[in-house]
Symmetry: D2
Subunit: 339 residues, 4 copies
């Protein structure tokens, strides 16, 4: 941590700030520049509210130099992590191909989509049972009934399931039945829920919040990991910007950034990012070319009648074509897709 002092601070002021730092168990180191003085603070600063020092009138600003996350950080864990989702490997060259409908509507619907997607190469099945909807009047998902449908289809197809948990109330049933527990963008900073996910061992797919910086996203992973669960997969799904033609702006730079700063796998969800089906194919190829460890794509057998987000779903035939191209790009990049 670096504390920048105002120009022309007196010795007395410098000593006052130094003492404030030392009283929190840190060592100090003074650098007197041509126009200003700065105080370097040495020691573990992760538990200190750095903005506190800005209260002192002699202080201009406080800057941190150390990343505030440890367990998620590549600096302390140089090798890539791989997460095992009920036998399906994600990361370290293994591509997760997650496919399925936005909302679970019926056994027949999910079964038909799952079988088609599996035939194309998908290795994980997604489907929303509990749906976070902006409007209280919109379809909110089938709930536990939807979860049962997913389990039935899993039994039949062998595809492990991915579905979103919205409330700690259902943590036990999810822990028992769901292979990869998804935390949606809107709950990325639901800290109580994150802490509870740390108590179990199920892998967690942590979506980036619409307005989350990389650091905040990694800190949310850190919440889960610090509480004991290291099986975290990150998921980029677009951030909110001034551009509204697309639902969100897909930030594919996040892929190399995640790889640089953390050791966790990263999956991309192009369906929710753009909100338009014709963006899914180019963005899927783009994500894999940038080094993503997986794709989560909405597939629907009858998008015109979907109860939710039909406009962003691919039909099974389109999905099949997509996987062919993805597999070509994966080869160039050095990733394996087992078809």
């Amino acid at each position: 941590m670096i504390i920048v002092l105002k120009p022309r601070t007196t010795k007395q002021e410098i000593t006052r700030v130094e003492n404030m730092v030392k009283s929190r168990g840190l060592d100090t180191h003074i650098i007197e520049g041509s126009e200003m003085t700065i105080i370097g603070c040495i020691g573990d600063t992760t538990r200190i509210d750095m903005k506190l020092f800005e209260v002192d009138p002699a202080v201009t600003k406080v800057m941190h130099v150390q990343e505030p996350y440890k367990l998620a950080s590549r600096a302390f864990h140089p090798e890539d992590s791989m997460v095992d989702v009920s036998g399906v490997k994600v990361g370290c060259g293994h591509l997760a191909l997650i496919a399925g409908p936005c909302s679970v509507e019926s056994v027949e619907q999910v079964m038909e989509i799952a079988q088609a997607a599996k035939a194309s190469g998908a290795n994980l099945l997604r489907g929303g049972a509990f749906k976070p909807r902006t409007s209280p009047y919109a379809f909110q998902g089938l709930g536990l009934e939807g979860l049962e449908i997913l389990c039935e289809v899993k039994q039949e197809t062998g595809l492990p399931i991915v579905t979103e948990l919205m409330s700690a109330e259902y943590l036990d049933v999810f822990n028992e039945k769901v292979d990869l527990i998804q935390i949606g963008a809107r709950n990325m900073q639901n800290f109580d829920l994150l802490k509870q996910l740390g108590q179990i061992e199920r892998p967690v797919l942590l979506k980036r919040g619409l307005n989350a910086t990389y650091e905040e996203w990694f800190m949310s992973a850190e919440y889960i990991m610090a509480a004991g669960n290291e099986n975290v997969i990150l998921c980029e799904r677009g951030i909110r910007t001034f551009e509204t033609y697309t639902r969100n702006t897909l930030d594919l730079q996040s892929i190399p950034v995640v790889r640089k700063l953390t050791h966790l796998p990263i999956v991309v969800d192009p369906s929710h990012a753009g909100g338009k089906w014709w963006l899914v194919e180019p963005m899927s190829k783009s994500a894999v070319a940038a080094g993503a460890d997986g794709l989560m794509v909405e597939v629907h057998n009858n998008p015109e009648c979907a109860l939710c987000d039909g406009a962003q779903s691919l039909k099974p035939k389109k999905y099949d074509e997509l996987i062919r191209q993805i597999s070509g790009i994966a080869k160039v990049i050095g990733k394996k897709v087992d078809l």
Copy 2:
């Protein structure tokens, strides 16, 4: 709802889209323009996923014309609403002056601050018992013990209390003891929690999410109201933009916008928006001049030692000066501050 078709659509295509609309119980009305055709859809569209129609290849875009919220909307409730917080009126000319420390640290601390703030004119006491922190390693609040401290100070000073609820787990105890339940920015779209708040009658202070549009904010209020609790106060606390010198960008245009589109009271929190104590005074005056129904300001007797967010807290003396000026501006604007 308006559906805009592609240039040069055929009769057949128009009929296909029309039928899709009618099958959802809406009437249609065709307008053929010089270059394109649009379909006006008549009926209640609040329960319809409008993006669905974008699936049809003849459709360019779908636009809604009606606001998706009803209970929060001024169109259906032309008079201003007033919310009664255990005897303190908020809205309709009555200014809520909420003050207190960011975090509850001890009875002595809260008591001293509350007494000073009350003497200056504050009519509600805030204090964080459960703290949402970006880092799992930061101070997370005293929890239920903190809530007990607030109750003790309330008993002594008579100030009703405002504190943040982070999880449905504590809803019952909050309903019993807290006068105004705050929902933080990060939980603005924790829909499960919102639905549960609709089951009780306690007033709710709903902070705007960091990336929430006005419409999304009002839809979150609608969640609470649709479930049965109409005692909602909105709270502007800054949005996330590209500017990082201030913690967030305080959007004071939200005050006249809330007043135009809804009938709910709106309170402003300048402390969290800017993250710097010297922004609090000008922004408080600014908010009241723009017509806010209240201010929520962090006050701390010893900001240098605060366990959280000391940098944005006013000392009691500064708060006292602020209230004097606020009261002058309120008079010009036609609002009453009872000092």
Copy 3:
């Protein structure tokens, strides 16, 4: 400037980076922390491209500690600056009340508006002769003819004129005839134009770019000042955010920030920020309460027929009421409005 090195850097690497710094004429100062080493760089860093050091593989990041602007900075010029616009003082307690139509349309139009505005208390006349329009098909302004109209109205009313310069081509005629040369948001980083404005002495009203950070805005002022013209007034007119109900988000925190970091006067343009006439009144009061040195408000005698931006214009009667209230708030704040 602070250079943060990677964890576990070797002595050799540290020396390599140090030498790179020294070769640019700076002194270095090493701080070895528990987990990482940082290098403090001492000397004038304003002319150094700090990102350059990030090229070295041992470097994690480079942070500046010193503001990159000098002439605009309050640190080197502690007193407020006042700008004299042909006899009208702006800053140091003097409020600029700039009013007039968005576009100049005819002598009669401008004259009628100017006389009404002056009677209400306006002391500067605005009007667009050259109009920056997003569409090439939209009305582009009357150009030099519009400028002549403004001059004619100035002669009659005595109000100094404010109008936008879009191209260096007209710099001479603006320098001769315009009292306060406005640089629009879209040209805030038209560096060639800024340098040329530094060659003259006419005061410049520098609008903040839609996506400009405070620092970039101040650096654009620095361009003009470094080239020799210190008569710069800053103008906040809203920034672009994810919220699209309002045209832009008016950032009133910019007022105390400008005051803290620079010595320049700051004026607010609520008309362009919101794009809706009913936002102008509350935001004008809000801006003055926050300490603005002036307001630029669009006034039109017949907004329904305006050739541009009628939706955000006040009628003269509304403007008159606004000035009454502004003057009440100014009194509370300690500013003078001479009516």
Copy 4:
């Protein structure tokens, strides 16, 4: 254009708004819904300031249904356009590989970089002669001398040159000597400059502004095209968002969006977007996989000593490796790279 009226408007009000519309040469069409009335406006609305109708108190909002650009629009020009840059084809399956230093520093520097880049497969040479810099104290480029250096290297290598024009003052010399005139992000809405570019025939590389929506970007292309120059290539270079770890957020969804809505070629500049050299390789592959018509990449023989933006430059060897991979991806996608 659609005008949405307030709930419960009277016949008289509807007629008033209708007349306002008709007086501007448009036909109207009324739709009476269950709760509100809307007016469809038929005719050419590109020259009409649509916000004007919001002035009427009976109007809630006005929405456009037609894109405001014509010449750039795919709707009126269904085939892809190809731009010929002095013999190098861009678009329609032909990939532009633009490489070179950020700033021109010397003949030797540019020559060495150009020869290496050409050997790797680059077909266009970039280099900044006039540099837009945030700080007036930073290196501003060699100006005309830099342009001469580029011409000399072009003569030797045969690579057509791409360089940025910052001011109309140099339009003639650029028109004579530069093969592809770059307009930087900060000048994307320098409308005077755009109009002048329409007077010549040289191809223009139009960078997206940091805060430009797709529509605004296309409108800027429309400015050039409407003035007579149809040789426009769009360039995505990142937009400004709340994330500051990367310089900007590269919006690769822009590639399919540009292709859907316009017929113009699109090139991606990953160097300026991220501001870090290690982002260039993954983002280049990503852009080509998404369907970009070209890449503009900064290459420097000695990034540690670059006068500008060294941190985002690739060394020639890295660039060579990149082009090998790009060429593999291009093959999968169906694009040709002539190496």
